[in-house]
């Protein structure tokens, strides 16, 4: 609105009220009940809807990651591996695929997922062998194991 002098500005009244109201109501048109028509109710609902959508944008990331993890867990259990074993052994074999892509592979490329599971299983067994060590007794006096023959 253009008002050209101070005297006129003091006496001016709102002329675009309709469009200000429509700006809020257009975001409420898909709501249920009177809050999609009545401005007073719509203002509160629209404000709550926007606040909830801003918070949900942060939670969506957490939710999707949990979903991917559930899917990868289900797929790796089909191949006889648990999720922590699968992920840790894949990372130890320097395969850096993220959970989103692993979940997509588990759904659309089952053969590739099976080969990844086999890779993780093999790395797991090599890890167990390395953890066992040589099988000899440790050196030293205090750590010497006393053999008792009956």
């Amino acid at each position: 609105m253009v008002v050209l002098s101070a005297a006129r500005w003091v006496r001016s009244r709102l002329s675009d009220r309709f469009w200000r109201v429509q700006e809020v109501l257009k975001n409420a048109r898909h709501f249920r009940g009177r809050k999609n028509r009545c401005y007073k109710l719509a203002v509160r609902s629209v404000r709550r809807a926007f606040v909830r959508s801003t918070k949900a944008r942060k939670e969506k990331k957490r939710f999707l990651r949990a979903l991917w993890i559930t899917r990868i867990e289900a797929a790796s259990l089909e191949h006889g591996l648990k999720y922590p074993a699968f992920i840790s052994n894949l990372l130890k074999s320097q395969v850096e695929l993220n959970r989103k892509v692993l979940a997509d592979l588990a759904i659309y490329e089952p053969k590739t997922f099976k080969s990844l599971a086999a890779l993780a299983q093999r790395r797991r067994q090599e890890g167990f062998l390395a953890a066992l060590g040589d099988g000899k007794e440790p050196e030293g006096i205090f750590s010497r194991i006393v053999h008792q023959h009956y």
Binding site: R47, S93, V95, L116, L119, A131
Partner: protein, 156 residues
């Protein structure tokens, strides 16, 4: 010495194949077969997992990808994606540790459009505290079309 609960480990005993023999088998059989398949061209549609714009994408040819930021390329530029993590076809997969070589895979894409996203509304509101902030964000996006994924038989 008597057998206790700690004499043998709790996981089942597994005999792993001999590493020297396994390396020979791998080099002779597996690599030769896969190289043969690649050079004969007996694969259908290839898919690849590419690391691009700090995200990983599972792509095939004729795919559309939307990147949530600006790329320093004009519309119509051909781009070669270099960080390829995995390439697969129906019968074989090439898993990179973590990346595959640049002489092995070639992924080409074209920039199709550079737009902005739909205007997202950020509202922060504390009730009874007279606190309201409203911000409308339209972040720039780029759309790429993956033209082709090619592999060359240079395994070793």
């Amino acid at each position: 010495v008597a057998k206790t609960s700690l004499t043998s480990p709790p996981w089942p005993e597994v005999k792993l194949p001999d590493p020297v023999e396994e390396a020979k088998y791998h080099a002779a059989e597996v690599v030769r077969k896969v190289n043969g398949l690649i050079s004969a061209g007996e694969y259908g549609r290839l898919f690849a997992v590419v690391h691009f714009a700090s995200k990983q994408w599972k792509i095939t040819s004729e795919d559309l990808i939307m990147i949530d930021n600006i790329l320093e390329a004009e519309c119509g530029d051909r781009i070669r994606m270099e960080k390829v993590l995995l390439v697969g076809a129906d019968d074989f997969t090439l898993i990179g540790r973590p990346l595959l070589g640049k002489d092995l895979v070639r992924v080409e894409a074209t920039v199709i459009e550079k737009t902005e996203s739909w205007p997202k509304v950020n509202v922060h509101f504390w009730r009874r505290h007279n606190f309201q902030r409203k911000k409308i964000i339209a972040n720039p996006q780029t759309v790429l079309r993956i033209n082709s994924i090619e592999i060359y038989p240079c395994l070793s």
